[in-house]
């Protein structure tokens, strides 16, 4: 829909001089270096062999004797794959919960009129104010009461519908002109039909944004799974990787290798969804 409006037209507004172009690229490269260098340092640390110094005055990014032994050692020390599967289970539940739950709730808050809608929205906002640490113990007591302590479902459940995601979806649905809904109502469409055929196609971008947020949130969370899970066999990757950081022995090469292993899936998810992600970020105007 939007594609043919932009395609192939020379943009008069965006014409810039060579000097300014160079400056822009220089600034972009600088920011890129700043954001990427910690990752590169971790990557290079994970590839260094045991006879190389990790900490030095001038960090060296190229390992002298590159080795994959650290990755093998991580896999030998802890059951990386089963931890990754546990993380994936949690992430899938959280992503599914958010994609469905936040969409439905956001649609209801944006488009449906019902008694107490304002109050409900206020309550949603109020829960955002509390820092997670304050509620974490009572949350644990609740999850335990449900009999879900030490299960992956117990880890995933509290994050399965993020209040912030509901608000984001509500905003996205609100941007759809009410006339479209009214026209559909006249045509005899039910609420579900309007959600599926008018709402959803217009909020795909925001949906991918919350998918990515939910995935990263579930994948990276450390404190909550640590508290819920007791049996090491149930640990998620972030918790399990902590075993590399023992009381007396902490090999930074192994920790870096573990970090890289847990980082890769996030890159994959983002790469797969980034097309939609950037559409979602700039969403706001609805193109008919």
């Amino acid at each position: 829909m939007a594609a043919h409006a932009k395609a192939g037209r020379p943009s008069g507004f965006n014409r810039i001089g060579a000097g300014e172009k160079a400056l822009r690229y220089a600034l972009l490269l600088l920011v890129l270096a700043l954001t990427v260098s910690p990752f590169l340092w971790q990557l290079s640390t994970s590839l260094k062999s045991l006879d190389e110094d990790i900490y030095s005055r001038t960090p060296s990014f190229l390992p002298e004797h590159p080795t994959l032994a650290n990755y093998a050692e991580v896999a030998r020390t802890i059951p990386v794959w089963s931890y990754a599967v546990n993380s994936l289970v949690v992430a899938v539940i959280v992503v599914a919960g958010n994609a469905v739950g936040a969409t439905v709730a956001g649609y209801a808050l944006a488009k449906l009129r019902f008694r107490g809608a304002k109050l409900l929205l206020g309550l949603f906002l109020a829960t955002l104010v509390l820092p997670g640490e304050v509620t974490i113990v009572s949350q644990y007591v609740t999850v335990r009461g449900l009999g879900l302590a030490d299960t992956l479902l117990g880890v995933a459940l509290p994050g399965a519908i993020g209040m912030l995601n509901v608000l984001l979806m509500r905003t996205a649905f609100q941007a759809i002109p009410p006339e479209m809904d009214e026209a559909a109502v006249i045509d005899g469409a039910t609420v579900w039909q309007r959600l599926l055929h008018i709402g959803l196609p217009n909020v795909r971008g925001m949906l991918s944004v919350i998918t990515i947020f939910a995935f990263i949130g579930a994948w990276d969370d450390f404190l909550w799974p640590l508290i819920v899970l007791t049996d090491p066999a149930n640990y998620t990757l972030t918790v399990g990787l902590q075993y590399l950081n023992g009381t007396f022995i902490a090999n930074p090469r192994l920790i870096a290798a573990g970090t890289m292993i847990s980082f890769v899936p996030i890159v994959i998810v983002f790469a797969a969804l980034q097309r939609f992600f950037f559409r979602g970020v700039e969403e706001g105007a609805i193109k008919g």
Binding site: R57, P131, V137
Partner: protein
Amino acid sequence: MRRYWAGLALAATTAVAGCGLGEADQGSAAAPSANLAGEVKGRVSLQTWALKPKFTDYMQGVISAFEKKYPGVKVEWLDQPGDGYSDKVLSQAASGTLPDVTNLPPDFALPLVKQGMLLDVSQADPKLSDEYVAGGLDAYTYAGFQGVYGYPWYLNTDVNYWNSELMTKYGLDPKKPPATFDELVAQARTLKGKSGGKVYLMSRRPELGDLAEAGIPLMSDDGAKFTFNTPEAAALLDKYRDAFKEGLLPRDVLTDTYSGNAQLFNEGTAAWTTGGGNYITSLATDNPTLAPKVVPSKDMGVPPLYVQGLSVSKRTKNAPAAIALARWVTSAENQAAFAHLVSIFPSTKASANDPYFSKSDGTNAGDAKVIAFASLAEAKMLQPVVVTDAMSKFVRQQFALAISGDISSKQALDAAVAKCDELLKN
């Protein structure tokens, strides 16, 4: 910050738990503690802190020997990851799932003692002080609470570590490292001059522990108020201020970009750091080329004492087995075996004459072990357990102001003491 919130949440939920949200046995906190005498059998749980996978074999060995000694007892061993341990323990305590025997350092045990969740082991074990060193037991006694709330497990202390290569290169003799603060400043001056300011000797900002290390009492004997605003403390801060002004310390030592003296030592920017008896061994993993150049020496003042211990839950359903297990893991033989694996030191009196700790194998790591073991005799817990993160932060800010010369040392100390007293009352 994390711990602060978690502590708050613990207090909140224990209040809530009384209203029926928690476990049924939650309300029994006031009830007389579990039956101590009895046969050692049944299930008992043990929780350690970040010992897997390095010490898995050792712990399994200790546990199976215990199960062999007491047939009919079954130990469930849980090892928690290093990060977030305090949060994990607090949530376990709040939900009534604290294991029977838990590895708790004295400061982590304090909130549980306050909530009446730990067993006074001196009641179960009147001969405690015959078997464990006084410093270890003192760590588990708390001002305002009668009793001892944990069996001391392994101990450690700090040793000075010097980069002999940097010292030799810049005109210092690594065989004669500074033994007092004044010598430290003098040698730092030499090093700075010869290296053109590229390398530092001193790279540590003073904190409460450094005052205690210099022999300044931080708190009154009854633990009711702070007392570190003495002229001696002011004189020490003055020395730091002069050294800072002279450029003997890195400029960023007072700010939050300061990465810590161990980090600067590893990078070769600083030639001195302090660390536990096992520091050289872990350095050999991080920076293999630096480790052989490190020379250890004794701490300059009162060496700090670091204690780990095993506490027994007051709500344990199997007190006889829990106490027997805690005693077993902290026994002289089992601790000695642990100390042979890593440079830590047993808290049992019987281990004092073990030649293993007083004889070096000739390596610098072995020397450090011997120095650390000798220091333990005079080591003390430098920082009181009641010192919270908020207190430390305020003290750090005041010290930073004094060292940068914005306020006098006396003013800084008075303000720090006043604030800490106020926070202590809350």
